[in-house]
């Protein structure tokens, strides 16, 4: 059930669509036991932040600079 190969795909999908309840349960059961997948999750989130900042969608310091 909770294989990293499968979970990493779900964690990626979660950034682009809503997961089913079953998919969430699989993730919730897996993550507490696997530091590799927890790090992976944090890192793919960071990739999104980085990409958005390069493309001016969200400027990292934009919010602060306004006021």
């Amino acid at each position: 059930m909770g294989k990293c190969k499968h979970i990493t795909r779900l964690l990626s999908d979660a950034l682009d669509r809503s997961l089913t309840t079953g998919e969430w349960v699989a993730i919730r059961l897996h993550l507490p036991t696997c530091s590799g997948c927890r790090n992976y999750r944090d890192q793919i989130r960071l990739l999104r932040v980085a990409a958005r900042s390069v493309s001016g969608i969200e400027t990292v310091d934009g919010a602060k600079r306004d006021e």
């Binding site: 190969k5 795909r9 696997c34 590799g36 390069v54 969608i57």
Partner: protein, 202 residues
């Protein structure tokens, strides 16, 4: 208000930096330096005509990037409509190789490749390093994988729009994005983001 805005946009340091960021962004998408320059030039020209509407540089920047994004979507659209499905399948077949490196037969991370925490880039130098690595790793992505990832994360299209645009199915679309993320984080990890500081605490 308008005065403040104009002064901010006359700032040559800001404009030079903005231009560099725009060119980098366009080059990553188009993989063609001349076409990237053209796209940026057009976006800046379009933005200039409305420059006095912006009170702050950050607003202006967001807006110019928005113009450029539209421009890039148009350019990419004109360039190539659909993905060659057999080329796509071949690319995805090749991914099995990477999987064998990353995961054991039982589907769990193999010891050497299990993701380790990345240090937070505290210093400006570290941050600069991160961006350099990020660009390098993006450049190394296989063609389709890179293209779909950029459409999703850089051009901010949702997967439905990407599928429609490239005429691929939803599964292909999400696999390609998944492979991009897996490759990027592996590549960044290999570049040393996971070294020194992080090694100690594993």
């Amino acid at each position: 208000m308008a005065q403040v805005g104009t002064a901010a946009l006359d700032d040559p340091v800001y404009l030079t930096q903005l231009r560099q960021q725009l060119v980098r962004f366009a080059r990553l998408q188009l993989r063609d330096a001349a076409a990237a320059e053209d796209a940026v030039q057009e976006a800046l020209a379009a933005a200039w005509t409305n420059a006095d509407r912006f009170g702050a540089q950050s607003e202006h920047k967001t807006w110019v990037f928005g113009i450029l994004r539209h421009k890039l979507v148009d350019t990419l659209r004109a360039r190539q409509r659909t993905i060659n499905l057999s080329a796509l399948e071949a690319e995805l077949d090749g991914e099995a190789l990477l999987d064998r490196e990353l995961f054991k037969d039982n589907g769990h991370w193999s010891r050497e490749t299990k993701p380790r925490p990345w240090p937070t880039p505290e210093t400006a130098l570290r941050r600069q390093q991160f961006w350099a690595f990020f660009e390098m790793c993006l450049d190394n992505l296989p063609e389709h994988i890179g293209r779909v990832f950029m459409m999703r994360e850089f051009l901010d299209l949702d997967t439905e729009a990407i599928c429609a645009e490239l005429q691929i199915n939803a599964n292909h679309c999400s696999v390609l994005i998944y492979r991009a993320r897996l490759r990027l984080r592996t590549c960044l990890g290999e570049k040393g983001l996971a070294s020194e500081d992080a090694n100690g605490e594993v």
